[in-house]
Symmetry: D3
Subunit: 149 residues, 6 copies
C-alpha cells in the first residue's frame, strides 16, 4: 500500500493542475460517460432515460460534475471513492436509491461484500443504529436481487 500511495502522490501533483482533470481533446460529458460506465455500463442510459422529459440537464450535470470533474480525478482510486461514498450515503440516511446503486457499483469494481457490510456497521459508531440498519437492509436487497437473477 505504501507503493500505491507514493504513486498516487505523483499522480496528484498532476491531479491538482487544471488540465489533468479533463484530458485534452475529451469533452467533459464523454469523460463522465466513461467514468460512470466503469461502475455500471447501463447507468448513463438509465439516467438519460429517467430525466429526459423532466430535467435533462440534471442527468448531464451528474455525469459532467460527478463523474468527469470529480470521479475521474486520479488522486483517489475508485475502490476508495466507492468506500467513502457508501459511508456518506449510509450516514445521510436520505439517499437509499443512491446507496443501492453504489453498493452494486462497489461490488462491480471489486469492493467485497464483507467490506461493504463492515463500512455500514462502522456507521453505527458515527450515525447510530438506524442508519446502519437501514443501510444493511439496502445491502440485503442488492444481494437478494443478485442471487435471484
Amino acid at each position: 500500500m505504501v507503493a500505491e500511495r507514493e504513486q498516487e502522490g505523483k499522480l496528484d501533483e498532476v491531479g491538482v493542475s487544471r488540465p489533468s482533470s479533463v484530458p485534452e481533446g475529451a469533452s467533459r460529458y464523454a469523460l463522465g460517460v466513461q467514468s460512470l460506465s466503469q461502475l455500471d455500463e447501463n447507468q448513463v442510459e438509465n439516467l438519460e432515460a429517467t430525466f429526459e422529459d423532466i430535467s435533462p440537464d440534471l442527468a448531464r450535470l451528474v455525469i459532467e460534475y460527478g463523474f468527469a470533474d470529480i470521479f475521474s480525478r486520479p488522486a483517489l482510486d475508485i475502490q476508495h471513492r466507492e468506500m467513502a461514498t457508501l459511508a456518506a450515503l449510509t450516514a445521510m440516511g436520505t439517499a437509499s436509491a443512491q446507496l443501492k446503486f453504489h453498493i452494486k457499483a462497489a461490488l462491480h469494481i471489486g469492493v467485497s461484500q464483507i467490506e461493504i457490510r463492515e463500512i455500514i456497521i462502522l456507521m453505527s459508531v458515527y450515525c447510530g443504529f438506524p442508519a446502519a440498519i437501514n443501510g444493511t437492509l439496502v445491502l440485503k436487497e442488492v444481494m437478494s436481487e443478485s442471487s435471484s437473477s
Copy 2:
C-alpha cells in the same frame, strides 16, 4: 489489492463469528484502549480527562463500543475505516471536532493528505459544497497546527 482482499475474506470468516471480535482473555476496555491508541496515543487519556467529572461512562462506551467492538474488527483495514469515517463526518456536518481528530488519526496511520483532501472534495457530489468547504477548513486547521509545531 486483490491479495489483500482475499486475506480479508479469510479473516472475515473469523470476523463474523462472535469470539473473534473480542479475543479471549482480553477485556473490551483494554482492547479498545489498544485500538484507539493506534490512532492517537494520547486520546484515551484525553477522553477520560474530558469526561471524568461529567459522564465517565460515555468515555468508556466510546472506547468499548467504538474501538473494541467495532474498530478492532478485522474485516476492514484501519486505513479504510478512517477513509469511511472522514467521508461520514464530512457528510454529517455536525461533528467538526470529531472530523479534526480523525483527520489527524488518518494522517498518523498513513492515509495521505492528498487522499483526505480528495475524500472531502468527493463529498461535494453527495452532500454539496458547504460540507466540502467546511471539511476542507478543518483539514486546513490540522495542517496549519501541524506545521507550526
Copy 3:
C-alpha cells in the same frame, strides 16, 4: 421588481406590527383555512380527514401556525414563499410528501415548472446530487399524475 419590493416594504411596516398578521375579527383558524386554500382548495379537508382520529390538534396547528401566523404575512409574496419552501424541502430530503404537495401548490399559484426544476437543480450545489435527484423524481411524479388526469 423594484416597484414590487417597495410595495412589500410598505406592507412590511404593517407586517411586523402584531395586529396585522391576524386581521381583527378573523380567527386564526379561518385565516389559515383561507391561506392554505389558495395553494390547494381541498387541502384543509384532506388534513382534517387524515388526522381527525389520530391527532386532530396537529391539523389545526398546521393551519393556525403554518398558514395563519406565517404564510399569510404580507412581507413575502406567496410565489416567493413557495420557492423558498421547495428549496428547503428538497434540501431536507426527509419530506417527500410535503415536497410533492408544495410542487403542486407552487404550480397552482403560478410558479413555472421551469423555475421549480431549476430550484431543485440549484440544490445540487448546496446539498448534493442525491437531494436534487430525489427532488426531481418528485417533480416527475407530479407532472406525470397531472398529465394523466
Copy 4:
C-alpha cells in the same frame, strides 16, 4: 415524582460504576435479550432472522450495545427512555421503521397514546411540521394495525 428521582439518584451512584451496567455472571448478549424483550418479546428473533444471512453481527451489536450496555442502565426508567427515543426518531426523520417499532414498544410498556401523540406534536417546535406530520402518520399506522388485529 420527586421520590422516584431520588431513588434514581441512588441507583445512579451504582449506575456510573462499571460493574453495574453488566451484572456479574450475565453475558452482555443475554442481558440485551432480556432488555429488548421487555419492549417486544419477538424482536430478538425478528432481528436475528432479518440479519442472519446478511450481517449477523449487526443484530448482535444492536442487542449488546443498544440493549445491554445502554437500555438496561438504571439511571433512567424505561418509559423515559422510550419517550426520549420517540422524540429523537421523530426529529431525525430518516428512521420510520425504527419509529414504528418504538411507538409499539412505548405503548407496550405503558406510555399512553396521548403522550406519544404529544411528543410528536412537540417536535414541530424543534424540527418543523414535516417531521411532526410524518411521525404522526407512523403513529396512525401503528394504531390502525393494532385495531385491525
Copy 5:
C-alpha cells in the same frame, strides 16, 4: 406512574378540545410568557432583547407557538417535555445554544443531572457518538458555569 398516566388521560380529553389550549380570556402571548418563565424567568426578556432590532416577530412567534400553543398543553408534563426536547436537540446536532438553554431549564424544573446525562448517552444508540459527545460537552459547560457562579 399509572395513576399519573390516568390523570393525564383525563386532562387530555380536555387537551384535544380546542378551547382548552388557550384558556379563555388569556392572550396567547401572555400564556406563552407564563409557560416559558417556568423554565427560566429571564428568557422572555432575553428573547425580546435579542431579536427586537432584527426580527421582533420571531421572538413573539417562539413565545406564542412554542410556549402558548404547545408547551402549555396539559397532555404531557413539563419534565417529560424537557426530556423529549433534550433528546431531539442532541439528535439534531445543529442547535447547541438551544440545547444549553434546555439543559438549564430541565435542571430548573427538577429533571436531574443524572437523567440528562443518561438521555444524552442514550442518543449514541440512535444518532451515534459525535452527537452524544457534543451533547455531553454542552452539559459540561452548563455544570461548569453553574458551579462557578
Copy 6:
C-alpha cells in the same frame, strides 16, 4: 411577474440546450468568476486565497460548478436563486458561514432585509425554531457588521 415568467420560459428553451449554459468562447472558470462577482466582487479572490495552499481545486470547482454551470443558468433570476439558497442554508443548519455570505450577497443584489428575515421566519414551519433562530442570529451579525462599517 407574469411577463417575467414568460420571458424566463423563452430563455429556458435555450437554457436546457447545452451550449447556452456556457456561452461560446467563454471558459467555465471565467464565466463562474463573472457570476460570483455579481454577488461579491471580492469573493473569487477570497476563495482562491483561502484554499490555495490546502485544496486549490475545491475553490475552482465551486466557481466552475456552482457559479458557471449552475448560477449563471438563465432559467431562474438571481434574486430567486438567492432566496432559495437562503432557505436551504437556514434549513440545513450546518452552513452558517455560507449563510452569512449569501445573506450579504442577497442584500447586494437587491433582496430586501425584510424578505430575508421573512424567509428565515418561514423556515420555522418546515425546520423548526432552532433553525429559524440560528439563521436570524446570522442575519443580525451581518446587519451589525454592515452598520458599524
